[in-house]
């Protein structure tokens, strides 16, 4: 079978992107935690593996694993403090982390700094890259249908309920984050030994956004989604090259728009069934809001009635039957301390 070198390279890159998208999907799609620094983990793996083979002469396999391990270690360092907190903090922390990694690589000697790291041997080929991608896919299939994967989905769906079911939420999030970082690190090792040259700009924020776009386009939380998203977004820019210079020059602008539009129009992604949920749960939530709204009107109404009644003559006629009858609508019970029950729930939810 003959493939032109051009398509051969495209397939290698696609395989690497599939690994990146699948691994990000574990954190963002399955566990619902937005990470904006996924490319940084790839960079850590790429530089670690590249330096180990080119400077220290280690074997490719060892270097790949070491790259994954190093990325996992950083994943642990970033994840531990931030994953205890709400999702927004992880997003901003990973964003900052990605920048720090990029700047650090730029300022280190062993990485070649702004000149990049040269002299890495070409050891990645399509077979290795494809096997790695299939391996990751297979791992993800197993994980998502396991006790661990279920727990992650539960965390995404409702953290409070997940805790109430005895799930150690932080532990699971951190574990998912570390596994995800490890795979990204291995993808980085493959990347390094395919292109043979590394530059920090390959692992900048924009690269993380590209990977996120793949996951979002394909479908967060599904297995096939990230694969399809990675394939489409690897090939599309090539397709557009020459057709429209404007589009290929301003790719990032379209990725940004893509993220917004997908969330507005099709949050479950192209093929997503896993999270077509984003919509249904939207419905569920709006219903919840409505209920508490009605509840509030009811409470307000009751307290107004009470005030009005107090001015008139109280005529408590106490029968047990009435007690039972009233209890049904005891939503109208008290007004002053609504904070305790109603407000309390909201505290728990936020």
């Amino acid at each position: 079978m003959m493939i032109s070198p051009y398509y051969y390279q495209l397939l290698v890159i696609a395989s690497i992107n599939v690994i990146m998208a699948l691994s990000l999907n574990l954190v963002t799609g399955c566990a619902g935690q937005l990470s904006l620094g996924h490319a940084a983990f790839m960079g850590i793996g790429a530089y670690t593996a590249g330096i180990l083979t080119s400077v220290y002469g280690l074997s490719f396999a060892v270097a790949l694993i070491a790259g994954g391990a190093m990325a996992a270690l950083f994943g642990l360092l970033v994840g531990l403090p931030t994953l205890r907190l709400k999702g927004d903090y992880l997003a901003i922390a990973t964003l900052g982390f990605g920048e720090i990694i990029r700047v650090s690589i730029l300022n280190m000697k062993v990485t070649g700094g702004p000149f990049g790291l040269r002299g890495i041997s070409k050891q990645t080929n399509l077979t290795i890259a494809a096997i790695a991608a299939v391996l990751v896919y297979w791992t993800m299939t197993r994980l998502m249908n396991s006790r661990f994967g279920r727990a992650l989905t539960a965390i995404r769906e409702d953290e409070v309920a997940a805790v109430a079911m005895g799930i150690d939420v932080t532990r699971h999030k951190v574990l998912a984050f570390v596994i995800s970082a490890a795979w990204a690190g291995i993808a980085g090792g493959l990347f390094a030994h395919w292109f043979r040259y590394l530059h920090p700009s390959s692992f900048a924020f924009s690269a993380s956004v590209e990977i996120l776009s793949m996951v979002v386009l394909g479908g967060m939380g599904s297995l096939e989604g990230p694969v399809i998203g990675a394939a489409v977004l690897t090939y599309a820019p090539e397709l557009l090259r020459g057709v429209s210079d404007f589009v290929s020059q301003h790719r990032m602008m379209f990725y940004g728009a893509l993220l917004v539009v997908m969330m507005l129009v099709r949050p479950q992604g192209l093929v997503g069934t896993g999270l077509n949920g984003l919509r249904v749960s939207k419905f569920r939530r709006s219903r919840g809001l409505e209920q508490s709204g009605i509840d509030m009107v009811r409470r307000r109404f009751a307290s107004a009635m009470k005030r009005a009644q107090r001015k008139g003559s109280p005529s408590p006629c106490v029968v047990n039957e009435q007690l039972a009858d009233l209890a049904v609508r005891s939503g109208a019970g008290s007004s002053g301390t609504g904070v305790a029950g109603g407000g309390g729930e909201e505290h728990a939810g936020s």
Partner: protein, 289 residues
């Protein structure tokens, strides 16, 4: 030492201006507006163009920049956030980050990647008080920031729309039952936050004499850090956080090397998140504005 305090105050008050936008939006929406740094950039560009192309005086350029950025902020909210008001958090976060990337790269496509100089529309004077040197920029930044913060305080505490904002921050549902148009309040919050960010953009763009499409990222992150440090959701917290962060950064640079500048901010962010995620004035969260 005194010099450092002045520098810290100047830097810090501009961070505070950015932090206010984060904190106000967080107050009403419980959302980190990722596009806030880009609004700051847009404000700087509008200010640059009005004073350069239209030749308007500084004060007028500032007003135009603030108004323009406010408009952009409102449009951003309407397109990327409002339709997702009831969607899961993750969807809103992704939409927000998408908006940020879109705006930054739109500016890149329209204005080009080069850094532009900000023509200074007034004569820069330098004042030497012994070893303390203060220039017109320091005075301008400090006065403008403090003026805007006082105006904001008045707006939030005394005006009708300010009270509506506070009510919405407390409890959106009740507020809407009381006849407050929550959508209008949120739009207004974005407008005010964006205008403040634009003011910071113009001031910093002028001070560093540099405006470019990606200028929003770092100040955006630092404004966020300042907001978290002070206690996200708290307006006084954002002011305090901004000043403290500015001070810490200036002191840090004096002690360490200037390459560590950004690392200091992130170090503080990491520390706050680890030790007290609710920030210094975080207890006021119930009085979010």
């Amino acid at each position: 030492m005194l010099q450092q305090v002045v520098n810290g105050l100047t830097l810090g008050s501009s961070y505070a201006l950015i932090a206010l936008g984060y904190t106000m939006v967080y107050g009403v929406l419980r959302l980190i507006n990722f596009a806030h740094g880009e609004i700051y950039m847009v404000g700087a560009f509008i200010g640059l163009m009005t004073s350069q192309t239209a030749g308007l005086p500084f004060a007028a350029a500032m007003v135009v920049a603030m108004a323009g950025a406010a408009l952009v902020g409102v449009v951003v909210e309407k397109i990327a956030y409002r339709p997702l008001r009831k969607a899961p958090r993750l969807a809103v976060l992704i939409s927000a980050i998408g908006m940020s990337i879109f705006l930054r790269n739109l500016a890149l496509a329209l204005m080009g990647p080069q850094t532009r100089a900000f023509p200074i529309p007034f004569e820069v004077k330098r004042l030497n008080l012994g070893r303390l040197r203060i220039n017109s920029f320091d005075v301008l930044i400090l006065l403008t920031s403090v003026g805007l913060m006082i105006a904001l305080h008045f707006l939030v505490q005394k005006t009708k729309i300010g009270k509506a904002m506070r009510a919405a921050a407390e409890d959106k549902e009740t507020a809407s039952l009381m006849g407050i148009s929550v959508n209008r309040v949120i739009a207004f919050t974005f407008a005010i936050g964006s205008a403040l960010a634009a003011a910071a953009g113009v001031l910093i763009g002028m001070n560093f004499n540099a405006v470019d499409p990606s200028m929003g990222m770092m100040p955006g992150l630092k404004g966020f850090t300042a907001a978290v440090l002070g206690g996200v959701g708290s307006i006084p917290g954002a002011m305090l956080g901004g000043i403290l962060l500015g001070m810490a950064e200036v002191m840090g640079i004096a002690l360490l090397k200037s390459e560590w500048r950004d690392a200091i901010a992130f170090g503080i962010l990491a520390l706050v998140l680890l030790v007290k995620p609710s920030g210094i004035l975080g207890r006021n969260l119930q009085e979010k504005v």
